[in-house]
Amino acid sequence: MPELYVPAQLEDALGFMGEHAGLALPVAGGTDVLIDLRIGRATPKWLVDLSPLEALAGLAFDGETLRIGALTRIRTIELDAEVARRAPAVVEAARVLGSVQIRTMATVGGNICHATPSAEMPPALLVHDAVATVAGPDGERSLSLSELFSGPGKTTLENSELLTAVTLRAPKERSGSCYLRQTVRWSMDLAGVGVAAAVETDGAVVTGARVALCAVAPVPLLVAEAADAVVGTELTTETAVEAAARAAAACSPITDARGTAEYRRQVVAVLVARALRIAWLRATGEWPAGVPAPINGVLSGEGA
C-alpha cells in the first residue's frame, strides 16, 4: 500500500519527487491513477497529491495565448466561454470526455501525462500549437506538446518533473478549430478515432492549418503533411479530402475491441476532412457562433 505525501506548494512536490525518484506517483484528479493502482498497473511507494497546488489550476488569456494550468479540470474547460470562442476544438474534446462526474474530477494535465493513445485532449491542444511547461528540480523548461509523448503510457518527463501548464496559440479572429471522434456509444466511450483540426485564414485562403489524431498511433500525432495540403487553398471538399488521405497514410492504428486497424484508417480519412471543413467554416464565420459540432461531424440525432 502506497503512502501519501501532501505538499503545500509546487517546490515541496518537486523536492519530494526528486528525493523519491521513481517511487513517487503524482495524483491529480485520480481518474486514471486509482484504476492503475487497483489493477496493479502502477505500484508506487508514494503518492503525491497535486490537488493542493492551486497555482497550477486555472485559465489565463492574454491576447493571443491561452494558458491552461495542468490542474485545470476538464469540466472547467468545457464550461468556459472564452475557450469556446478561441479554441473550440479544446471545448469539443472536453465535452465528450467521460461523464460529468469524470470531467469534474479529471485534469487536463492528467489526461496528457497518462499518455493513453486514445486520450482526447492532446489532439485538440496540438492543433492549437500547445507548448508544455514543465517544472523540475532545476526550474522550468518549455517544449512543444508533441515532444512530451514517447509511447503508450509514456512521456519524456523525468521522474522528478511535473507538467505545470500548456499554453495555446488561440487568436480570436479568422481562425477556427474542431474536434470530432468515432465511438460505439454516444457517450461514456473512449475514442476509436479522434481528430482535431485548426485553420487560419486571411479571408480568402488558408494561411495556416493543423491536423492531429488520437487513438490511431502509439502517441497523439500532429500530421504536418495533411495540414500542408490545405494551406493556400479555399478549403474546399476536394482539398479537405486530399489532406485526409495524407492523414490516413500517416497513422498506424491497431485492431482491438474498439475497431479494426483498416476501419480506423478509413475513419481518419473521413473525420479529418469533416473537421477541416468545420474549422474552415468557423474561421470564415459561416458556422453559427457557439454551436458545437455533432460528435462525428454529421449525426446530430436531431429532428428526432
Binding site: M1, L34, S99, Q101, M188
Partner: protein, 156 residues
C-alpha cells in the same frame, strides 16, 4: 492516515488507508451504505456523491483529497426522514425498478438541476449519461428530473 470531513452535515474523523477511495470510506468506515458500487472504474455512476457541491464518482476519488471537504450522499438529500423532491419524483414516475442505480442517479440529478433547473430533455440525458441504469430504459428517470426541474424553476 487521519481524515476529517463532513458528510451530510455531520462531522467525521477517521483513520483511513492513505490510498483509500471515498467510496470505501463512506461504505466501510462510516457505514453509509446508501452509496452503491457497480464497477469501481468510473463507468456506472452508482457511487456518485457530491464533493463541495460537485458530482464525482466516489470509487475514483482519493479520500484524502476530500480532507476538510463537504460530502453529500443520497442520504443527505432527504430532510428529516422525508423524501427529497427528486426522490419523491422518482417514486411517482416509476423511475426506480431494482433501485440499485437510484442513489447515484439522484445525486447526479441534484447536481444537474443545481447547475440548471430549467434543463431540457437533451441536457438531462447528457448530464445523466455517466449513470447507467439497466432496468428502466431511462424514460421515466428523465421524466422525473424534468418534473422536479419544472417545480424548482417555478418556485424561484
Amino acid at each position: 492516515m487521519r481524515l476529517e470531513l463532513t458528510v451530510n452535515r455531520d462531522p467525521y474523523r477517521r483513520e483511513v488507508a492513505p490510498d483509500a477511495s471515498l467510496l470505501t470510506v463512506l461504505r466501510d468506515d462510516l457505514g453509509l451504505t446508501g452509496t452503491k458500487w457497480g464497477c469501481m472504474t468510473g463507468d456506472c455512476g452508482a457511487c456518485t456523491v457530491l464533493v463541495d457541491g460537485e458530482p464525482v464518482v466516489s470509487c475514483l476519488q482519493l479520500a484524502q483529497q476530500v480532507q476538510g471537504g463537504e460530502v453529500t450522499t443520497v442520504e443527505g438529500l432527504g430532510r428529516d426522514g422525508e423524501l427529497g423532491d427528486i426522490q419523491a419524483a422518482f417514486v411517482r414516475n416509476g423511475a426506480a425498478q431494482c433501485g440499485f442505480c437510484t442513489p447515484g442517479m439522484i445525486v447526479a440529478a441534484e447536481a444537474l438541476l443545481r447547475h440548471n433547473a430549467a434543463a431540457g430533455e437533451a441536457e438531462i440525458r447528457e448530464g445523466l449519461a455517466g449513470n447507467l441504469c439497466r432496468c428502466t430504459g431511462y424514460n421515466k428517470i428523465v421524466d422525473a428530473v424534468l418534473e422536479v426541474g419544472r417545480a424548482r424553476s417555478a418556485a424561484t
